[in-house]
Symmetry: C2
Subunit: 551 residues, 2 copies
């Protein structure tokens, strides 16, 4: 849990400090902006950036993960709470924290149940479609604050500030790093410097409002930000536990998937191993901490984590420094934040989510696998047309479907003997001999509920193609496990074949499978025999079937 | 679609007629009883037994499947409609038909999308747990009608009739077949005869009420059953489409799973092949037909289908005869049915669902696989504690979890060369030689989103165990497909290994996989090489790694 502290070396400190500062500078505008996406006052985003990363540093495994507010999760919070409370109301804030508490509890429970293997449930195309759909939905939702109203009824001063900030941020995204390099910074420093553009734009815009008094002329601003650290929040609405259960499950699920995909990307760069169950505990603790400190659901963010890593973070200390700086920012005078114009925050959100519109997977899949393009498009359209929760459900259904489809197509080979040898191979790929009346099948997958009917169907097909069959040998050399469903199916196959005059035999049963089968009645009930090898089965049964096996 | 008609032979007729009559005699009390379980007037159960089997005969594939009302589906209907309407009200009947229409549309759509492979989604333990939980829930729900009230406030005459019927039916279930055999009937005829006990008990009890006038003394009866065939029902509540969507999806899903497991059990006995997509179309048509004729959701029933088969059904004609007889029963005077006492119908339901309490799977799994026992128990408790819909969701979650767990544990072998040969085998099982600096891994599963992270993790483990590795060869002889997620993961692995001074090579890529990879940039980006065989990789790389491969 704190193994990184024991391994801490002094040489890691400078990197951690610089990364801590850089990420804090990113976190202030991002935290406030994503709180707005979630329908909450901006300060909630700062609250959600202090305690959660501290708890994640205690319980999580990724050393460079930056845990805090994240656009998609904020969108899910807004979508879950929309039917239950008015954004800005006290109840809304209570429910947002309650959602973080419940999502955190779900994540913690999953970690304790050790079901972290669920991390790879969504295929990349599904995740990509989900992300693109959510990014477009978030950007669309920011049009109104960006322009001070929906076009054509915008508010000119707001629209000019918003679009100006948008232009500045888009320029910074494309050209700032280059300009900084030309100004003499190293490539890495220039890249990191360009990530501070949102903070600079926010400070600049706040100064403009302070100087011009545009807030008095209708430009919406953040308004008074309460100073001081967040207090302990234990408020919850007892009437809403049940209504929040389904959103909490879906949000908890996406918190895990999003954080794991960010952590995995970084772990690959460092050759680091992640413990997915430990990650669940870390994210669960972070969300419960967020709830208790008046925040809302948080997760690991790929964009911030990448900056953290690039800015030199060597350990969890970087995140602790970030959290400490944010706490300092709240203790320092926060009055200046009141004049921060909302159109500019909207611009930072739009530019941030545009960065999530990664079409490279779509382009690759288009040439490589159209089924994956369909999965991407269906999930993306699901989000756009039916909303972000429905998008998660569409993604779940598609991934489930893909898993079952794969499971239901095990590779099954009809075996023949390579003439004059003890070797048995797929008759379709090798020149082999077969014996009339003897059918040998090899199933190249563990037998379980997902594929037993496919195996049954293939057996029926082969029996129809070889009507003279009297002996069916299942060669189980590649079968590592047989579950209860498959055990029953084998028992039924044994009886049904016997009624039709075919004996079922098993060959090359692996040790662990055999140990397990001894706890069942299948072996006693088997009408055929058990052979150590396919060759032994051939020697015995090809003779019985009336053929000289040596011929 | 009507291929069975072309193959019809005259010799099949007697069996079809006798089965048609026997099933009709079962169907009358069952249909009425299951309509009551669904919260509908008994005649709706007869309606639901006429048009659906006719449409199933047209579109389905199982020749002996008996489609109609079924206890678990009726329970799901009652549970879905409970929050929306009062049982017995006109709206309730409209919504029940609407639910059949929507479930039918879902089934039809799934059939047209050809996703019948979902049939094996539930493992047998999950299905068994679900069935046991639902059976107990149904039996519990029949206590009140059985006793004329909840104990201790029952109604004595009702309780005596109900418990008397229960005792008679339990006796019949255990001993009637034996008695009939001793009376000279063949074993098969005796078995079938014993299935008619519910009809006999119902007729007997109706006669008792008619003679004693117990209905006037508080014994609840079926009441007036409208005579005549069902009319065309086009009523639907436009306010309820959205509310019924989720129940319709779950009910459609269970209709398919229940019907397929019944049909598969029979198909095994006949060595018949089922088309799961055609089944979806048949069940979809049957449910839409049920909706249009004033019924409610229907499915294939394992108990009735088994009787149909045992009574000699050779083709779909048996079901057509059953439907015709039920239509006749409605055209004939139905006045006598009015006096049928409800406590007796409750007794028939309880005995029917007791037949679903099959604990043999639980017993087998207890000795064979405790994880399957846990899945069974969790699903059963889910149904009992949280209701039948939650039980389906628990079953879905457990099955999904099991699928992902399996997918996330692909078999991966470190390969070594069998000394002096061209053969490469698992180093853990064969005496092999390996070359320092060269690591060869064989993945025994197609690479896809469900297992790429497991492959990554194993590679990191092996690299940690073999820190001198300079060449990693992935032997893809068992990889039949690489999806887009795995393609990206391989690309990332290629770069991340290269940064750490390890070259990624691929060997024994199968033809179809190679054709697909040519549509991607992986092969150009590969830092290592592509080898036709593991032996060629060894010959090239073991030398480079500083070892004489012939040594």
């Amino acid at each position: 849990m704190l193994s990184w502290l024991q391994q801490y070396r002094r040489a890691m400190l400078p990197g951690d400090i610089s990364a801590g500062i850089v990420v804090a500078m990113m976190m202030i505008p991002q935290g406030m902006a994503y709180a707005l996406v979630a329908g909450l006052p901006p300060v909630a985003g700062i609250y959600a950036s202090i305690v959660p990363p501290l708890l994640y540093a205690l319980f999580g495994t990724s050393s460079t993960q930056s845990v805090g507010p994240m656009a998609i999760i904020s969108l899910m919070v807004a979508s879950a709470l929309a039917p239950l409370a008015t954004p800005g109301s006290a109840l809304y804030g209570v429910l947002a924290a309650q959602l973080a508490l419940m999502s955190g509890a779900v994540l913690l429970a999953c970690g304790l149940l050790r079901i972290g293997f669920l991390a790879n449930f969504f295929s990349r195309p599904v995740m990509s479609g989900f992300t693109i759909g959510a990014a477009l939905l978030i950007a669309w939702g920011q049009l109104r604050p960006l322009l001070g109203g929906m076009p054509p009824a915008g508010h000119w001063p707001s629209a000019i500030m918003g679009l100006g900030a948008l232009a500045a941020l888009l320029w910074a995204r494309s050209f700032l790093a280059g300009a900084l390099r030309r100004a003499g910074l190293s490539a890495a420093a220039a890249d990191i410097g360009s990530k501070l553009a949102p903070m600079l734009v926010v400070i600049g815009a706040t100064l403009v409002v302070a100087v011009t008094g545009l807030d008095a002329r209708g430009v919406a601003t953040v308004g008074a930000v309460p100073a001081g650290l967040p207090g302990l929040n234990l408020a919850a609405s007892s009437a809403h536990w049940q209504l929040l259960l389904q959103p909490a499950l879906l949000i908890g699920f996406m918190i895990f998937l999003i954080s794991m995909s960010a952590a995995q990307a970084l772990a690959r760069k460092r050759g680091e191993q992640l413990g997915s169950n430990q990650e669940l505990l870390g994210l669960g603790a972070a969300n419960i901490g967020s709830a208790l400190s008046g925040g809302f659901p948080v997760t690991g963010s790929i964009s911030r984590s990448a900056v953290n890593f690039a800015a030199g973070a060597n350990s969890q200390l970087a995140s602790i420094i970030t959290a400490a700086l944010l706490a300092l920012a709240l203790v320092a005078p926060t009055g200046w934040l009141a004049l921060l114009p909302l159109p500019v925050l909207a611009a930072t959100i739009i530019v941030a989510v545009l960065g999530m519109l990664d079409l490279s997977l779509l382009r690759t899949a288009w040439r490589y696998d159209r089924a994956d393009v369909a999965a991407l498009a269906a999930t993306g359209l699901g989000v756009l047309v039916m909303g972000v929760e429905a998008g998660v459900v569409v993604g779940l259904a598609l991934s489930m479907g893909a898993l079952i489809w794969r499971a239901s197509r095990p590779h099954i080979a009809v075996l023949g003997r390579i003439r004059g040898s003890e070797h048995f191979r797929n008759v379709e790929r090798y020149a082999t001999e077969t014996a009339p009346g003897l059918l040998m099948l090899r199933v190249d997958a563990g037998l379980f509920f997902g594929n037993v009917e496919a195996v049954n169907a293939r057996i029926e097909d082969e029996l129809a193609a070889h009507p003279a069959t009297r002996h069916l040998v299942l060669v189980l050399s590649a079968v590592n496990a047989i579950d209860t469903s498959a055990l029953f199916a084998l028992g039924e196959l044994n009886s049904s074949l016997c009624q039709r005059g075919v004996l079922l035999h098993l060959a090359e049963v692996k040790g662990p499978v055999m140990d397990r089968l001894k706890h069942s009645t299948l072996l006693q009930a088997l009408h055929g025999r058990l052979f150590l090898s396919a060759a032994m089965a051939w020697d015995q049964l090809a003779v019985q079937a009336g053929m000289d096996p040596g011929a």
